[in-house]
């Protein structure tokens, strides 16, 4: 095990976990308010594409230079917010099935980036390469500090503010929250929109931080791993962060080991088995084999106000 925990592996774990943490914490706001979020994948794709396209355009057409990735980041968050707004109206106002709407968003966002890059960049599904100095900061220390600050802030909001209390009560018992004068739909709109912003941010980090362009379906299931981390972290901010680090670590290992993972005893583990770890763990935890992972009680149920 000696050569597994190298400094470069830790750095790469932090880098790879970052988009997962952002999306998973976004999912936390949405799911804690009672709205299932299988659309994290689509929102990440929206953020990733928009961030890369806007960063490119901000430099080329507006001459923003080194400031352009920050415009890209902002645009990625707005794109996530926009997609989340469609999702929110569909699920909250029109009480559409949350899983169906989420699946629709995911399929839609598989198509939209390719459609737009075909039109604007005359390419099939990717944006132009960005120069190195037009990317977000990638120092693992800076990122780690930013993530820790974010998790602390989210923990505070969820557990120590009136908004957090309302958020949790709406997800657990919307009838009681409603009776106490809390607007269930307002809280749920806030939860879903916050999820959109954070997932968009996670996607943006993927395209203009970890990478230097958007490529077709570049999230490659990270939205679903983020969802898995949220469940594995039992819908709590700190545990979710730890779950994301674990899943980021499995990804870092499978990249660094280039196909085979050597056990200390000298046996090889094919990379595919390491890739399965997050998914298997999530199934095991959800079934209650390791502690119990209980979703918010009203998760997935549209709220119908008593007339």
């Amino acid at each position: 095990m000696r050569d597994i925990f190298t400094l470069s592996l830790i750095a790469s774990t932090i880098r790879l976990a970052t988009p997962l943490v952002l999306a998973a914490l976004g999912g936390l706001f949405s799911e804690r308010s009672g709205v299932i979020n299988i659309a994290l994948e689509g929102k990440m794709l929206a953020g990733a594409f928009t961030a890369a396209a806007v960063t490119y355009a901000a430099d080329k057409s507006l001459g923003m230079g080194n400031a352009s990735p920050w415009f890209g980041l902002l645009a990625g968050m707005i794109a996530g917010l926009f997609i989340a707004a469609i999702y929110a109206v569909s699920c909250i106002k029109f009480k559409a099935d949350q899983v169906v709407s989420g699946a629709a968003i995911n399929i839609l966002m598989l198509g939209i980036p390719g459609f737009l890059s075909g039109a604007f960049f005359l390419s099939s599904g990717s944006t132009p390469q960005l120069p190195k100095d037009h990317l977000l900061p990638q120092s693992p220390v800076v990122i780690a500090l930013a993530i820790l600050a974010l998790v602390a802030a989210i923990w505070y909001v969820v557990y120590k503010t009136p908004f957090g209390l309302r958020l949790r009560s709406v997800g657990e018992n919307p009838e009681a929250a409603d009776a106490a004068g809390v607007s269930v739909s307002k809280i749920r709109y806030s939860g879903v929109l916050l999820a959109g912003i954070l997932a968009g941010l996670g996607g943006a980090y993927l395209s203009i931080g970890q990478s230097s362009l958007f490529t077709r379906n570049m999230t490659a299931g990270r939205g679903f791993i983020a969802l898995a981390a949220l469940i594995f972290g039992k819908w709590r901010p700190v545990q979710t962060l730890l779950a994301c680090l674990l899943f980021g670590f499995t990804e870092a290992v499978s990249i660094q080991m280039q196909g085979v993972f050597k056990l200390p005893s000298g046996e090889d583990i094919p990379v595919q088995f390491i890739q399965m770890v997050p998914y298997v763990l999530t199934i095991v935890v959800l079934a209650g084999f390791i502690g119990s992972s209980r979703p918010p009680r009203a998760l997935g149920i549209p709220y119908q106000k008593e007339k």
Binding site: I38, S90, F94, I105, F115, F224, M276
Partner: protein, 358 residues
């Protein structure tokens, strides 16, 4: 309005509305929507290629659409058709390679059984997890999709790849396991078009699913569980058994995609072959109003779009084949938000407001 007209109306509105939204997007990027749509849909009608490929693409979508339908009728959301069809396609190829010496009369049915049983097995896992531990099938089927893809990729790469082959695929299956392409029976229809007997099997499955759900006791119990689990339980139906049964049947239907892919088309397992068939199956079932006939119609529409996508890519300046997924996504969004149209209609014509989410 008659029941049939009502059933057809909303899917039709959703499709038309999606094409209007898609048309606006095409206009915005500077192309002519009418030209793009003519390329997209017109190419599907040409004989023999357009029709042949459309029916070929429709085959897996009918299977996955039926798979999602059976789940929905039991109140379950099977997002796992993608994983089920991967496991099944690999199992089909495995039997076709391992038992190469059998005669076609034995090997083909054996391959069918492999596809159906392995799909049913992979589908039953989330069923058992839900019945036994109450864990949500949506999450578990998503997770099992990723596990399935990694698992078959491992077996292909480490155990069944032809050494030196740069492509991640297994060796060819025995010629005895091939099923006939329809070109063999239809004059003027070339055998290079991969439309095969699996298409007829898909149509047969529509009939069987209809008979199963609406004409048998098991099917009745599945539907009773789907429409009101509490009443069903009170009526003496074992919910747990129905959940496992429905997921297994659903997985078996998804697994039959392997028959089309391996026995009728590529004659081997090719890693990553599925063009999102499992996920498109959700769209097919929803647009088809969870009815086998609707599934056929919706599968034909999506297959035509898929085939037309190639022509859009080749012959229009700005629009790419991604427009197919854009249209698909908008269609599902509109189908899901049926209440949106009811709300819209209710506002336009006072007095006709339908109750939202009754």
């Amino acid at each position: 309005m008659t029941k049939l007209a009502r059933e057809l109306l909303f899917p039709l509105i959703a499709v038309v509305a999606a094409f209007i939204v898609g048309g606006i997007l095409i206009l915005l990027v500077g192309d002519n929507p009418i030209v793009a749509y003519r390329l997209l849909l017109g190419s599907a009608l040409s004989w023999p290629d357009g029709i042949g490929y459309t029916l070929f693409h429709a085959t897996p979508l009918i299977f996955t659409g039926l798979a999602v339908l059976v789940g929905f009728r039991c109140g379950l959301f099977n997002i796992g058709a993608e994983g089920q069809l991967y496991i099944a396609a690999f199992a089909t190829a495995w039997v076709g390679i391992k038992f190469a010496n059998l005669t076609p009369w034995l090997l083909v049915p054996f391959c069918f059984v492999a596809a159906i049983m392995s799909g049913a097995f992979w589908g039953a896992i989330p069923g058992v997890l839900k019945a036994r531990f109450g864990s949500h099938e949506v999450i578990n089927t998503i997770m099992l999709n990723f596990i399935a893809v990694a698992l078959v990729s491992y077996f292909t790469q480490y155990h069944y790849k032809v050494p030196g082959d740069p492509i991640l695929q297994t060796a060819e299956i025995s010629p005895s396991a091939h099923i006939a392409r329809l070109g063999k029976f239809i004059p003027g229809f070339p055998e290079r078009i991969p439309l095969n007997l699996a298409f007829l099997l898909a149509l047969l499955c529509c009939l069987l699913v209809y008979l199963f759900l609406w004409r048998t006791k098991w099917g009745y119990e599945i539907r009773a569980t789907g429409s009101n689990p509490f009443a069903a339980q009170y009526g003496g139906i074992s919910i747990r058994k129905q959940i496992i049964l429905a997921m297994a049947v659903s997985g078996a239907l998804a697994g039959m995609v392997g028959i089309n892919e391996v026995l009728g088309y590529r004659y081997r397992y090719y890693d990553g072959f599925s063009d999102n068939y499992g996920y498109t199956g959700i769209a097919v079932a929803l647009l088809g109003r969870n009815h086998p006939v609707g599934v056929i119609l919706a599968a034909l529409l999506f297959a035509a779009l898929q085939h037309g996508g190639i022509y859009v890519d080749g012959f229009s300046e700005h629009v790419t084949k991604d427009i197919v997924q854009v249209l698909q996504g908008i269609i599902i969004l509109f189908v899901a938000a049926e209440a949106f149209f009811k709300w819209l209609v209710g506002r336009r014509i006072p007095g006709t407001a339908l109750k939202v989410n009754p």
